[in-house]
């Protein structure tokens, strides 16, 4: 019979932390955690593991995080490692980037990525380009993280999706996780990575429960940056998506199953560098492609994917033109019906799949 001490030694502080954080009921059969818990744990573990890692942002310390993503961390790690900033994004993103240039490993939180626009010069010109401009002399091992894209009822200025803006820039790594396992493995990988990483979360699924394996809960669990995952195997059509887009892809796939349509859902996980091989392999198998994302259609991730497929030998395997499902090409409205119809829903995916399959 293991004592509590032995249990803690075996699993680290994770179990106790989970107990103190968790307010949701557990399925008896398998372990589940929320995205929120996954991200908090990942940050906690990396801050514990490496002295150079620290978290900086608005309300991250004493408030436990605007979205409670850093709950308990300030109490555990103190002022030096969890740093509250004034509301000055350009200033603190610059300070975090300078600290990274000088050898620390900051996690710079933007309360939402909408506010990163105030600091975007530091993300691109100070962080992304410096390793190249200095010919390898100056590394910038920083992670910029926070919620990206639409929330609920927060209107246009608080709902923009920055996936394509950041993923366009060489020098950055851009990660857009979906599940709790994605968040744990990829955030830990991002912190350990020596290059600047933009880590795009989604607030709407922060509270969603996901099954998680023991392996994924271990302290050194990292996922490879730049590799996608087949979230659901299928043979009739490829749905390529990321982040919250996976949610509606999986829901659509379930419905389509009843119509005898078998969807393969690809979770890109990383937007830059993009795992085009996983998409090509899938398209060569299914011969049909629909991309799904919540961002605006012009210059979307879907546009990039389709261009790459058409430029490759996978084009010859297509039986229909590939098409996109995206957010509507408008700033986001506040009123509920308008908002809901400005963002992709399951019917958009169903319609698009049936169209490419000529059904």
């Amino acid at each position: 019979m293991k004592s509590v001490k032995d249990l803690v030694k075996a699993h680290g502080s994770i179990i106790l932390l989970r107990r103190s954080l968790s307010l949701t009921p557990r399925a008896l059969a398998e372990k589940t955690i929320t995205i929120r818990e996954a991200i908090t744990q990942a940050m906690d573990e990396e801050i514990t593991r490496d002295d150079r890692v620290f978290l900086m942002g608005e309300e991250v310390a004493q408030y436990d995080g605007a979205y409670k993503m850093s709950k308990g961390l300030w109490k555990k790690h103190g002022d030096k490692r969890i740093v509250d900033t004034p509301i000055t994004e350009m200033g603190f993103a610059g300070i975090a980037t300078g600290a990274a240039m000088a050898g620390l490993r900051p996690i710079c939180e933007f309360m939402t990525f909408n506010f990163s626009m105030q600091a975007i010069d530091h993300v691109i010109n100070s962080a992304a380009k410096t390793y190249y401009m200095s010919s390898g002399k100056v590394k910038v091992p920083i992670v910029f993280r926070g919620p990206n894209g639409a929330a609920a009822g927060v209107a246009a200025q608080h709902s923009q999706d920055y996936s394509t803006w950041y993923s366009q820039c060489p020098g950055l790594k851009v990660i857009a996780p979906y599940s709790a396992e994605d968040c744990r493995g990829l955030l830990k990988a991002a912190v350990r990575d020596d290059d600047p990483v933009v880590f795009l979360e989604n607030e709407l699924i922060y509270g969603q429960q996901f099954p998680i394996s023991d392996e994924a809960l271990s302290a050194d669990f990292v996922l490879p940056i730049g590799k996608g995952k087949i979230e659901r195997e299928g043979k009739h059509v490829t749905l390529a998506s990321y982040s919250i887009g996976i949610k509606i892809c999986l829901e659509a796939a379930k419905e389509l199953e009843q119509n005898g349509i078998d969807c393969e859902v690809i979770n890109l996980r990383t937007l830059r560098p993009l795992d085009e091989d996983i998409i090509k392999t899938s398209v060569k198998k299914t011969h049909h492609l629909v991309t799904v994302e919540f961002g605006w259609p012009q210059c979307s991730i879907g546009a990039e994917i389709i261009a790459r497929i058409c430029e490759s030998d996978a084009f010859d395997y297509l039986d229909a033109p590939p098409i996109r499902v995206t957010g509507a090409d408008v700033p986001l409205a506040y009123a509920k019906t308008l908002e809901q119809n400005s963002m992709p829903q399951v019917p958009n995916v169903l319609k698009s799949v049936k169209k490419v399959l000529n059904k």
Binding site: T85, F92, I95, K137, K227
Partner: protein, 404 residues
């Protein structure tokens, strides 16, 4: 009419006001900004009083107005300032011969600031500046070849030609930054790292009178003060932000007073020993846990903002010549050393010849060394590229697999 009045009347309105302002601040007639240079017995020190070299904001006492240096230091500072001056002259010529492209911002006239400040820095202190960076790059350890060959885009440049004029780096030197003002919060971040690691070092973050109005500068001031960061914010005020005088750009052109909660020192930036003394004071302040400090170096640039600016549409040639004649940091320091019998004119001529050779050798490399191979354009995008990482070139048939 005495000579001073003559000078003042000949200038255009702004030029006259600038000179008057700088004179008023120095509180004594041109050219004598120092008093009583003592004739030293041979082998001893140059010492003098510079009572008007500083002004203070929120400080009860400041750096020593009695400044000195020994012979070795004097000759060393002179040589370094002369290297920077000649290096920039070489850059000017090479730019005109089209060997240097794009932007090129010259430091000529400001040498006392980079040489004087570096003389007070610890070897593990950090520094970051904007794009008028060639003098600083040299002082932070990059040989002249590394600077000139970077300007001409050759492999032997300090960034192998990838960065050019505005992006040169060295250990503890974070560039060379192209975006006006961005270097200031970055510098505060480097200071944050020093403090985080418990090091007793400072980061010096430089910016110009133009950049001094950037919002992010004030954001950096705020966090530096809140967190007591060992950061010295230094405004190199050369009177003009590109073509706009500081009076036309700043509601408050007293840059050392711009922050109501951080103490500041105005320094005569043309007096190298005053610069060194003030930097020692600021460094002592910051490393003793008192938080950040602001310095304003009153200096002057002889060339225009960059090589595409003749520099005479917003100021007169007379103004520029007057500063050269009466306040040049190099000739005035040399004169003091000669007057104090620390060194002879012949010794200075010998140093000048030495410097000439250094520059010529560097120019040789800058003009004849090869550029990087074109395949290198794909290198150093990531320090940790994923396995089998391919970078796309300009068409669908051009991809390069990189492992670094």
């Amino acid at each position: 009419m005495n000579i001073n009045t003559k000078i003042v009347l000949r200038l255009q309105p702004y030029g006259r006001h600038l000179l008057q302002k700088q004179l008023k601040q120095a509180n004594s007639p041109v050219p004598l900004l120092v008093t009583s240079i003592r004739e030293a017995s041979s082998g001893a020190a140059l010492e003098y009083d510079a009572p008007n070299a500083y002004k203070f904001h929120m400080l009860e006492k400041g750096p020593n107005t009695h400044v000195s240096c020994n012979r070795e230091e004097g000759l060393d500072y002179y040589k370094k300032m002369q290297i920077v001056r000649r290096m920039e002259a070489s850059a000017n010529n090479m730019y005109k011969s089209k060997l240097i492209r794009g932007f090129c911002h010259l430091y000529s006239g400001q040498e006392a600031v980079c040489v004087g400040m570096k003389a007070a820095m610890d070897k593990n202190d950090s520094l970051i500046t904007a794009y008028r960076a060639h003098g600083w790059t040299f002082m932070m350890g990059v040989p002249v070849t590394g600077v000139l060959a970077e300007l001409t885009g050759r492999k032997s440049g300090c960034a192998e030609g990838r960065g050019g004029s505005m992006h040169m780096y060295a250990p503890n030197f974070y560039g060379g930054n192209g975006i006006v003002g961005a270097q200031v919060p970055l510098g505060a971040g480097v200071a944050f790292a020093h403090k985080y690691r418990g090091e007793s070092n400072v980061c010096i973050a430089l910016y110009g009178d133009g950049a001094a109005n950037q919002g992010q500068v004030f954001e950096a001031y705020n966090m530096a003060k809140l967190w007591s960061l060992p950061c010295i914010f230094v405004c190199e005020n050369n009177g003009y932000g590109m073509g706009t005088s500081s009076a036309r750009a700043s509601a408050n052109p007293n840059f050392y007073k711009r922050c109501e909660y951080i103490p500041g020192i105005w320094v005569d930036g043309m007096d190298i020993l005053a610069v060194r003394e003030a930097t020692r004071f600021a460094r002592e302040w910051c490393t003793s846990g008192k938080g950040p400090m602001i310095m304003e170096m009153a200096t002057y640039r002889y060339f225009g903002h960059s090589m595409s600016d003749p520099g005479t549409s917003y100021r007169t040639r007379e103004e520029i010549q007057d500063v050269r004649k009466s306040r040049d940091p190099i000739t005035s320091f040399r004169e003091k050393l000669v007057q104090a019998k620390i060194a002879t004119e012949d010794e200075f001529k010998a140093i000048d010849n030495d410097v000439k050779k250094i520059i010529e050798d560097a120019e040789n490399h800058a003009q004849n060394d090869p550029e990087l191979h074109v395949d290198e354009l794909y290198s150093h995008v990531y320090s940790q590229p994923p396995p089998k990482f391919k970078i796309r070139g300009c068409d669908n048939f051009t991809f390069k697999e990189v492992s670094k």
